[in-house]
């Protein structure tokens, strides 16, 4: 029965010692007291001796290796052909770890990240690995959307302006309606108000200026012009993915003549005073009635207003003219209550901005209208 010689403890606090050398080889006969190995710790070198006669059957460790104190250093047998007893317990495996078909943790992390199930994914080897998940993902992934070249945009703003990048906040709104990237994301909202103030204001203006007809809609349009002049976002559009801020405020307004709808445009309206504007409004209206509108008179609107009060329509939703982000809809009053609506391009304006503009028009601002 072979007997072990153990790795000796040299210092109280060193649990490992370094093997300097075996001084004997397997098969060699040794005598009791014969040096068989040299080991060392930080403190000292020690020679290990055989405690009895015998034959070296097996040595454990290689030169320079750190050996655990108390481990078997060498087996000594009575004859050279004895075998070392194999009674070491089998190494225990950790539950659910190596030796099982459990996916690697890395693979599980990837599976979890993509919301997949391990059972759906074929493994190339014994364990499902990251590479298996990646292969599965590349095979099953929905075809990536091809990068579409930006569609050429039809038309362009036909009034002068400055093209700028959208701010991050503005771009976020643009992208939230992204399938409208090249078309207006037309949206509608409205506000209720009492038109009495406007009627009184328009009457006063008419009396002061000796006008033939009520200037209510032209004055409301003029207040819109003034407001847009102070709030450039209302006077902007999108072109080629960039924000386009118009230099001047050109107001378009609807004229319905002979079953046809026209949108004559008062150019550079922000440079006019109220009276000039009302006259320009009336002049274009007259030209339209006489069929005298020139193409140039109907180009370049940057903001717009429509009135269907004379029919009388109680509420209407105008169509946005090209490259216009806000069009106000004036309708007829009923029981002292009127609806002011607005169609706006949600790529440029959010509901709050559109409503604020609309709300601003629900009563006349004498100061704003007469300041110029």
């Amino acid at each position: 029965m072979p007997r072990p010689i153990h790795v000796p403890r040299i210092n109280n606090n060193d649990d490992e010692v370094k093997l300097i050398a075996f001084l004997v080889s397997p098969g060699e006969a040794v005598k009791s007291g014969q040096a068989v190995a040299e080991v060392e710790s930080e403190k000292a070198t020690v020679v290990v001796e055989a405690e009895e006669d015998g034959f070296v059957i097996e040595t454990s460790g290689t030169q320079g290796q750190m050996l655990d104190v108390g481990a078997v250093l060498l087996w000594l047998g009575e004859t050279p052909d004895e075998t070392v007893p194999q009674n070491d317990p089998a190494p225990q495996s950790v539950d659910g770890q190596a030796g099982t078909d459990r996916p690697t943790a890395g693979a599980l992390a990837l599976i979890g990240k993509h919301g997949l199930s391990a059972v759906d994914i074929p493994a190339a080897g014994a364990r499902l690995k990251v590479s298996d998940v990646e292969a599965f993902l590349s095979g099953n992934a929905p075809p990536a959307e091809p990068e579409r070249p930006p569609a050429p945009q039809f038309g362009a703003p036909d009034a002068g302006g400055k093209s700028t990048e959208f701010s991050a906040y503005e771009a976020a709104m643009l992208h939230s309606v992204s399938w409208h990237a090249h078309e207006a994301a037309a949206t509608y909202l409205e506000a209720a108000y009492d038109e009495a103030d406007w009627q009184a204001f328009a009457q006063g203006f008419r009396d002061r200026h000796g006008l033939l007809s009520s200037p209510l809609v032209p004055l409301m349009a003029y207040q819109l012009v003034r407001h847009a002049s102070d709030n450039p976002d209302l006077n902007s559009t999108v072109h080629n993915g960039r924000k386009f801020v118009y230099d001047r405020v050109n107001l378009g307004f609807t004229v319905h003549i002979g079953g046809k709808l026209f949108l004559p445009v008062i150019h550079e309206a922000d440079g006019m005073n109220a009276r000039e504007f009302v006259d320009a409004f009336a002049g274009l209206h007259r030209s339209a009635m006489r069929g005298k509108l020139q193409p140039a008179d109907m180009k370049g609107a940057t903001i717009a207003i429509s009135s269907m009060a004379r029919w009388p329509v109680l509420r209407h939703m105008p169509i946005l003219p090209p490259f216009v982000s806000l069009m106000v809809a004036h309708s007829a009053p009923q029981d002292g209550r009127s609806i002011l609506g607005a169609t706006y391009d949600h790529r440029v304006l959010d509901g709050a901005a559109a409503f604020q503009a609309l709300n601003h028009l629900t009563s006349p601002d004498d100061k704003e209208i007469t300041s110029k």
Partner: protein, 664 residues
């Protein structure tokens, strides 16, 4: 011949210089009567609701309290007193208004209201409310006096009731072994709070000093030559440079505190009849005595008025920690190579060579033994006066370390097994960490090194690491580096560049490990984390880890094995974070680095319940961390001795891997 003081000049004590008390009855009676008047004034203020907290008076013991302190006239003399300290303090400082204001919780208090009646610090005077707790500190300060050779002795004053405390005997032993100039004064008033001495104290009082080979005297405060004999004891300690033990028999005329006196009227009558202060006053002509008493009353009234005018003490801003602002960290060359043990030993050699104020105390340090783990080898030979092999006396040497630190030294105390830190815990918990935040001028740059950790089969009392216990002590710095840190640099920073009491843990299994950085980098220290730059947190550098393992000390090699296995077998990217600073926790440094991690494992060798990992996890959670957190550590059971049992209790490789894999 000392000129006779007059009633007009006597009460001129301003608290800026020690009162001169010549040996004549008028001067001594005058001052003793002032102390009594002060104590009666305090009781009166207490009854009027003007005191903050409680107070203990020395009524009846005024002359006893004056005797030794009066004779301590060297400017390097120091006094360590106790809860009943007003007579000592006033004799030392003459600061009556400062004492009143302090006990009233006013801004003008001698300690700004931070100390109160029991906790006073003033130049060389310190008192504390833990019975006997200052005795070892006094011995440490006396050791510093001896080493400096510039004169000055230390007096430590206790009552007979404190003779039941073990630390008193450790301190007597250390004083005897080190032969340092410390005078132990036992004020024997025959009662401990409410319990008579014959129920508390066995054997002889004086034999306690004699047993340690210490010169011992016994005097009574009603002896005609009491002051001369007390002064003679002080002179003897000063002249010999050796310790002394002086028992003063006295009687307490008042209650322990207030309203807690169980003694009968007969006994009290006898005490009043003996009262040495009254007897001393009777030796003066009536007119002189009455003039003194009138003058004293006026003086005390003025002192109370002065104290009353001071507003209640207030913090400008309540401090978030006691460590003050971070100092810039000097860049230094990292000392690499060799084992952790060699790195620590080399750092000790360097510090002792370069800094004369560095002192190392510990058990079995003497060569050729060099400490149980050989970290301190070859030091007693090179620095025999500053590397002291001590008695087995953990509380005593921790206390002595505090005294040395208060005296301007940079002491290092080696605790052979960190398990024994509990023996020194009162010194740490009630003394080392309390003084600096309470008292502006006191620093305690003490480093306690402690070999710690299991994995060696040493059993339940030689395998623990009480880092959680230590980290929960407010104001205690806890450092626990790994083999990846610059071990010597950490120790040098703790000893030389950090002025606060610190426990420095060294895991036994790391001592033989190569001390190599192996690619780890220090996390950027957050500016709001005290000491985070001095004691860095290391990171093994993984950009987008699947899992982050936070470990420290002896767990570092284990988690490296675990990480290597997880990366190889489980295809995970594993980040390892190795703090070296446990407390104050480098909270914002960790949060900044880890708040976006998906999974964090806190691997601990100490029980996870109420542990350091829990604090880190709570900090992350409070900062909004929304990943998965796991603690892996031992249950709250003793560490068994058999290696096979110990392996089952302490977290090992297989358990860590198995628990980590449960996160996926």
């Amino acid at each position: 011949m000392v000129s006779e003081p007059t009633a007009e000049t006597r009460p001129g004590f301003d608290g800026r210089s020690k009162p001169e008390l010549p040996l004549d009855p008028a001067a001594l009676y005058g001052f003793g009567h002032l102390i009594r008047g002060s104590e009666e004034t305090l009781l009166d203020l207490f009854s009027k609701g003007q005191l903050s907290g409680t107070t203990h008076t020395c009524l009846g013991q005024e002359l006893c309290q004056m005797g030794v302190v009066r004779a301590l006239n060297h400017d390097r003399d120091a006094i360590f007193s106790n809860h009943r300290n007003h007579g000592h303090f006033l004799t030392y400082s003459g600061d009556f208004a400062g004492l009143f204001a302090e006990i009233m919780g006013r801004e003008a208090g001698v300690c700004g209201g931070h100390g109160g009646s029991q906790h006073l610090a003033y130049r060389g005077f310190h008192s504390s409310g833990v019975q006997g707790g200052m005795t070892a500190i006094a011995v440490g300060e006396a050791l510093a006096r001896k080493q400096d050779g510039a004169g000055g002795i230390v007096a430590v004053i206790i009552g007979d009731g404190t003779l039941g405390q073990g630390l008193v005997y450790e301190s007597l032993n250390l004083a005897g072994v080190w032969d340092v100039p410390v005078l132990f004064v036992v004020e024997n008033n025959s009662i401990a709070q409410t319990t008579p001495t014959d129920m508390t104290t066995a054997g002889s009082l004086t034999a306690r000093g004699e047993a340690f080979g210490i010169q011992t005297w016994r005097v009574s405060d009603d002896a005609p030559d009491f002051f001369e004999r007390a002064e003679a004891a002080v002179d003897a300690v000063r002249k010999t440079g050796s310790p002394g033990f002086l028992v003063i028999d006295t009687m307490r005329l008042g209650p322990h505190s207030k309203g807690d006196d169980l003694r009968g009227s007969e006994e009290m009558d006898a005490i009043r009849a003996r009262d040495p202060l009254t007897r001393l006053g009777e030796r003066l002509p009536d007119a002189e005595r009455q003039a003194i008493e009138k003058s004293n009353a006026d003086f005390l009234k003025a002192a109370v008025d002065e104290a009353m005018q001071s507003p209640p003490a207030q913090f400008d801003e309540v401090p978030l920690h006691p460590f003050g602002p971070n100092q810039p960290v000097q860049a230094k060359t990292v000392q690499v190579g060799g084992t952790v043990r060699q790195a620590l030993n080399a750092a000790l050699h360097r510090m002792l060579e370069q800094s004369p104020e560095v002192i190392l105390l510990g058990e079995d340090l003497h060569d050729p033994y060099g400490g149980a783990f050989k970290v301190s080898e070859r030091l007693t030979t090179a620095y025999p006066d500053r590397v002291l092999s001590t008695p087995i006396s953990e509380a005593g040497i921790v206390g002595a370390g505090i005294g040395l630190a208060m005296a301007g030294k940079r002491p290092i105390v080696e605790i052979m097994f960190a398990d024994f830190l509990s023996l020194g815990m009162d010194q740490i918990y009630n003394h080392a960490v309390k003084f600096p935040p309470l008292f502006d001028e006191v620093t305690v740059p003490l480093v306690i090194r402690a070999a710690c950790g299991g994995g060696r089969g040493y059993g339940a009392t030689h395998s623990q690491t009480p880092e959680s216990l230590c980290a929960s002590v407010p104001g205690l710095t806890v450092i626990y580096g790994s083999h990846r840190h610059d071990a010597g640099g950490l120790l040098e920073n703790a000893v030389l560049n950090w002025d606060h009491p610190t426990v420095f843990f060294e895991h036994k299994l790391l001592y033989s490990r190569p001390n190599e950085p192996d690619g780890y980098k220090a996390l950027a220290a957050h500016a709001s984390d005290p000491a985070a730059g001095l004691f860095p947190t290391l990171q093994n550098g993984r950009d987008e880890p699947d899992i982050t393992i936070i470990a420290y000390g002896g767990m570092a090699p284990l988690v490296e094995v675990v990480a290597e296995e997880l990366e190889r077998e489980e295809e995970l990217s594993v980040e390892i974070i190795l703090p070296s600073l446990i407390a104050p926790l480098p909270r914002n440094t960790l949060i900044a680095a880890l708040s976006d991690r998906p999974r964090i494992v806190l691997a601990e060798e100490s029980p996870t319940e109420f542990g350091v990992g829990a604090e880190i996890a709570a900090s992350l959670a409070e900062a909004g961390f929304d990943g998965h957190i796991l603690r892996v550590g031992p249950p709250p059971v003793p560490i068994p001795s058999a290696r096979s049992l110990e392996e089952q209790v302490l977290p090992d490789r297989d358990r860590l891997i198995a628990e980590i894999l449960e996160m996926f």
